[in-house]
C-alpha cells in the first residue's frame, strides 16, 4: 500500500511538472517603452489622442495600438489608431536606436489637420535570464544626458509634440510609465 502510494506520487509528479514548459504571458519579459500623453496647457492633466497612427521607420506595417478590435473586423484599420492617452512602443532588441513616425488625426479628410512628427529613441540594452520557458529578456536604458545621442528627440515634423519628459530611463518592466509627452 505504501509502495502504491509512492508510485502514485511519482506518476503524479511526472504529469504535473510540465507546466513550466510554456512562457507564462503574465511573466515580466521584454518591456515596451510606455508613454503617457498630457496637455501642454494643463501639464497635470492627461489628454486623449485623436487617431494617433504610429509606424516604425522602414517598417511596412503600422504598430497595433488598439488590440480590442479583431483583425478580421470590417473596421480593422482602427487597430492601428489610438484615441487613448497611453501607448507602448516596442524597442528593437537587436539595435540601440528606433525611429518612429507619430501621426495625429491620421484618417482626417482635412489634410491640414494631419500632423506628423518623427521621434528618435536612443538607448543601451541588456539581456537577462528569465526562465527555462521564456529564455532571456531584453531591458533597456535610455541614453543619459551626457551622451551626444539624446535619449528621445523630435527630429522632423515638430508640429504637434510640444515637449518630452523622461520619468524612468531604466526600461525594465511595464509596471510604470517611462515617458510623458505634452501636446
Amino acid at each position: 500500500m505504501k509502495k502504491l502510494l509512492l508510485f502514485c506520487i511519482v506518476v503524479l509528479s511526472f504529469s504535473s511538472c510540465e507546466k513550466d514548459d510554456i512562457c507564462d504571458p503574465g511573466q515580466s519579459t521584454t518591456p515596451r517603452l510606455l508613454i503617457e500623453f498630457y496637455d501642454t496647457n494643463n501639464p497635470a492633466v492627461l489628454k486623449n489622442l485623436t487617431n494617433l497612427y504610429v509606424i516604425g521607420e522602414g517598417q511596412e506595417e503600422a504598430l497595433v495600438l488598439n488590440e480590442s478590435i479583431p483583425i478580421d473586423s470590417p473596421v480593422s484599420e482602427q487597430r492601428f489608431l489610438s484615441n487613448g492617452n497611453r501607448i507602448g512602443l516596442p524597442l528593437n532588441t537587436e539595435a540601440d536606436q528606433v525611429v518612429y513616425n507619430l501621426t495625429l488625426n491620421y484618417n482626417s479628410p482635412n489634410q491640414d489637420l494631419i500632423f506628423e512628427d518623427q521621434i528618435v529613441i536612443n538607448y543601451s540594452r541588456l539581456n537577462a535570464y528569465v526562465s527555462r520557458a521564456c529564455g532571456y529578456k531584453t531591458t533597456y536604458k535610455l541614453n543619459p544626458p551626457t551622451n551626444p545621442l539624446a535619449p528621445i528627440t523630435v527630429t522632423s515634423g515638430n508640429v504637434w509634440i510640444n515637449s518630452i519628459e523622461i520619468l524612468q530611463s531604466d526600461i525594465e518592466t511595464e509596471n510604470e510609465i517611462h515617458v510623458k509627452i505634452y501636446f
Binding site: 509512492l6 509528479s13 504571458p25 535570464y129 527555462r132 521564456c134 532571456y136
Partner: protein, 241 residues
Amino acid sequence: MKSTLKYISSFFLLFSMLGWSQTTDSLPKFKDRYGLRVGIDLHRLTRSLYDKDYQGVEFTGDFRLSKRYFAAAEIGTEKRDTREPQINATTRGQYLKIGFDYNTHQNWLQLENMVNVGLRYGFSTFSQTLNSYKVYNPNPYFGNGDFIDVNREYNGLTAHWIETVAGIKAQVFTNVFVGFSFRLNIMIQEKDPSGFENLYIPGYNRTYNDRFGVGFNYTVSYFLPLYKKDKGVSAEKKKKK
C-alpha cells in the same frame, strides 16, 4: 510516449522474472546470504546510445546489513543537452548517492528477491554551459531575434538532495539480479550559476520550478556472497534479548 511504453513492458518482464526465479533453487539449510551486490544502470547506458543529447553511466552497489536493511549507493557521470524553444545549454558532472534500502518482500525459503523502499542522500558537482539563447519578446514589431550564441561555461556548481526510492530486484540467474527503481527527489540546496539557473543536475535530472524532481534506473547487478547468517528472524530475536 515511446519510452513510457518501454518502461511498462520492462515492468511486466520483471514481474514474470520474479515468478520464474522463485522456482530455481532449493537448499536444505535455510541461511541468509550476506554480501556485496554491484551493478550498472542499463537505462542510462542504452539512452546514451539512442539519445544524442545524453551521455551517462551509473554504477550501483548495495551491501546487506541485516535481514531487511541494505546499505546502498549509486555513483555516476552524466552529460545532458537541454534544448528548449528559447534556450540551449549543456550540463556535465558527477554524482554520488548514499543511503539504504528496506526489503518489504517476504521471500520463500532461499529466495533473495527484493521489493524495496529506501532513502538516499544525493550530491552532485557539475558545470553548465549556456550554448545559446533567444530573447523572449511579446511585441516583436522589429522582428523576433534569432538564437544568440554565447558558449559561456559556469563552473563549480553543486547540489544536495534527498531521494525516496521504490523498486524491485529479482534474481534471474545465480547471483545475477535485474531490477528497477523510481525516485522522487527533494532538493535541499543547490548553487545556481549567477544570472542563470540549473536546468539539469546530474543524478537529480531535470529541475522544475518547485523543489521536486524524478528519477529512474534499470539495473543489472551481480551479487558477491561473503558470508551466511541464520535466517534473520532468529537473528533479530537474539538481538532483542
